[in-house]
């Protein structure tokens, strides 16, 4: 039995990269020793019973009992049942019974069983059957346990991989969202030619108003203005190309799964803010074709906004509800509802504008980017008031796989 534990996973530390390769090999089908072929299983059973026979013949003179020493046959039965399952165990029982009858049960070397030996013989057969049954049942339960462990481990490693992916995506996302760096470098790139243009413009005026006017210098200044204007336009074109470099990679995916994954991911953040997130997701929602990272960004923005709106300790209910449902024949709808501070009517028209923010730390791009992402997916994103005082942000996305982007 200790030998069997070497294949057990109990001691194997979960190493995510390796798990992936081993998954398919690790799981063995339930219900018997499926990993061995029938020939090997029954062949082993036969061999073991013959071995038991010769061993018993070899040592029978050592025992002075009226009946010979037959326990080696039980060993053969148990081992056969362990290795080959119930069928092999039974085969071994049958062979053992035949050998015992012929060689060890009086009258010896005949198929008959004397009346005195009958009870002995029958009890041998019953004991062999029971041994076979116990052994194979034990093996089965051991295998079931092993398989459960394997499956559990696969699940853990799958979950770890998924989480790591999500984390990687989120960090990529947050990099994209930290616009500080980006705006600083854009500002620098654009301001340089603008500075040169303004300076050259002033210089040009000075040269023209000199007495006498220095037309050559004025002409050079103007030329420099043109060059720098062109340069600024080039910078803008480069930036636009940068953003366009990666066309959205759309894939069919399960919106509910995406929501659940994100909620899982934010659970900890929510807990530290004492906020609960509840999901109310429609069953069998059709899959939609979207850019995973972009949609994550939208949902993340909406959920984080909802959390931020409830940071005020006076907020009565700290629960975010995320709903999904089918909206008409060709749309799905996702709603993120909070009972936070809500949207004041006077700013309702501005919240989707770039650089509009009510947060002290915000840059005011979240909702603006979210709306443009949803619109690039041919959906709509809007906000309304929640009766509890908070806000509801909803977006729709078209169902179907029409590949009509760009």
């Amino acid at each position: 039995m200790p030998a069997l534990h070497t294949s057990s996973i109990a001691g194997a530390a979960p190493v995510p990269e390796k798990e992936g390769q081993n998954n398919s090999v690790r799981v063995r089908p339930l219900g018997g020793a499926g990993s061995y072929s029938i020939a090997i299983r029954y062949g082993t059973a036969t061999l073991f019973s013959i071995a038991a026979l010769f061993a018993s013949l070899g040592i029978q003179h050592l025992f002075a009992f009226p009946y010979p020493f037959l326990f080696l046959f039980f060993g053969a039965v148990m081992v056969s049942a362990w290795i080959g399952g119930m069928g092999a165990g039974l085969l071994c029982v049958v062979l053992s019974t035949v050998f015992v009858d012929y060689f060890f049960v009086p009258p010896f070397y005949s198929w008959q069983v004397s009346a005195t030996a009958e009870t002995y013989f029958v009890s041998f057969v019953i004991c062999a059957l029971v041994a076979s049954w116990i052994s194979s049942a034990k093996k089965r339960s051991e295998q079931a346990l092993q398989q459960t462990r394997d499956e559990l481990e696969i699940k853990v490693s799958e979950r770890t991989t998924a989480l790591m992916q999500t984390q990687a995506e989120l960090s990529r996302l947050s990099r994209a969202l930290s616009m500080d760096e980006l705006t600083a470098s854009i500002a620098h790139e654009i301001n340089q030619p603008l500075t040169a243009m303004v300076a050259n413009g002033h210089a040009c005026l000075e040269w023209l108003s000199a007495k006498p006017a220095n037309l050559e210098k004025a002409r050079q200044s103007t030329q420099s203005i043109i060059q720098n204007g062109t340069r600024a336009a080039d910078v803008l074109a480069r930036i636009r190309a940068l953003f366009r470099k990666e066309p959205p990679a759309k894939q069919l995916l399960d919106l509910n799964h995406l929501i659940e994954e994100l909620v899982d991911f934010l659970r900890h953040e929510a807990a530290t803010r004492r906020i609960s997130i509840r999901t109310d997701l429609a069953r069998s929602l059709p899959w939609i074709k979207v850019d995973l990272v972009q949609l994550q960004q939208v949902l993340l923005n909406l959920i984080i906004n909802a959390m931020d709106s409830m940071s005020d300790p006076k907020v009565p209910s700290k629960e975010i509800v995320i709903r999904s449902r089918k909206n008409g024949p060709d749309q799905v709808l996702v709603a993120v509802e909070d009972c936070g501070v809500g949207i004041k009517p006077e700013i309702a028209g501005k919240i989707f504008d770039p650089f509009f923010t009510t947060k002290s730390q915000g840059i005011g791009m979240g909702l603006s980017i979210s709306r443009s992402i949803i619109e690039s997916h041919k959906g709509r994103l809007w906000a309304s008031a929640n009766p509890c005082g908070g806000a509801i942000f909803e977006f729709t996305l078209p169902i179907g796989s029409q590949d009509s982007d760009e």
Partner: protein
């Protein structure tokens, strides 16, 4: 001294900005010296006449603000106007606290620049006048004999001739004679004038020691 055209040094790694600023400065009658890096400026600067420095903050190799600090440590007191495309409040406050004249955000208008330059040149002029005066006082001070400088010390500390005489164990007549020599050599019109000169030299040597 007034007929010397002031030199404006521009340190910016962006050639088009540098040249545009040079063009603008030239058009309003300044001499502009253009540098693409602080090292280039360091190597080339032999600025005897009135001058100031237009310094970009984001520069290859050195940050403009750090360069300001290193100039100060080296005792170079050229007034600095910072120009930057992406300034923020902490940067500006650091620059101004360290003695920058102005902190201009690119793109800036001619009047902002010229106003800042005028202010910088005025500061430069004051600094130069003070320096020149200090050097003159110092050279006069160096002409004094050791006995005369002893007398000077005691005079400015407020002692009478009699007290000085007893302090130095010399006659009062001799003291008066030394005192007359000191006033003449230092070119001092009054006792108050002498005290002022002495204070300046002391203040300067204190500053030197501090650096």
């Amino acid at each position: 001294m007034n007929d010397v055209r002031p030199t404006i040094c521009v340190v910016d790694d962006d050639a088009s900005v540098r040249e545009a600023l040079g063009n603008l400065l030239e058009s309003v009658g300044f001499d502009a010296q253009l540098f693409s890096s602080t090292e280039q400026f360091r190597r080339a600067s032999n600025l005897d006449g009135p001058s100031c420095l237009l310094l970009d903050i984001r520069l290859p190799g050195a940050n403009g603000l750090d360069f300001q600090e290193s100039l100060q440590k080296a005792g170079i007191s050229i007034p600095i106007i910072f120009i930057t495309a992406h300034g923020n409040v902490p940067m500006a406050s650091r620059a101004l606290r360290a003695g920058a004249v102005e902190f201009l955000m690119k793109p800036f208008q001619k009047n902002e620049l010229l106003g800042a330059i005028r202010q910088a040149l005025e500061r430069d002029r004051v600094q130069r006048t003070e320096n020149a005066e200090l050097i003159a006082i110092q050279s006069r001070f160096n002409q004094l004999t050791s006995r005369e400088s002893e007398v000077l010390e005691l005079v400015v500390s407020g002692l009478t001739n009699k007290e000085i005489a007893s302090h130095l164990a010399i006659s009062e007549v001799t003291t008066k004679m030394h005192r007359g020599q000191v006033m003449r050599k230092m070119n001092a019109a009054s006792l108050a004038d002498l005290v002022r000169m002495s204070d300046k030299v002391k203040a300067y040597s204190r500053k030197e020691k501090a650096q």
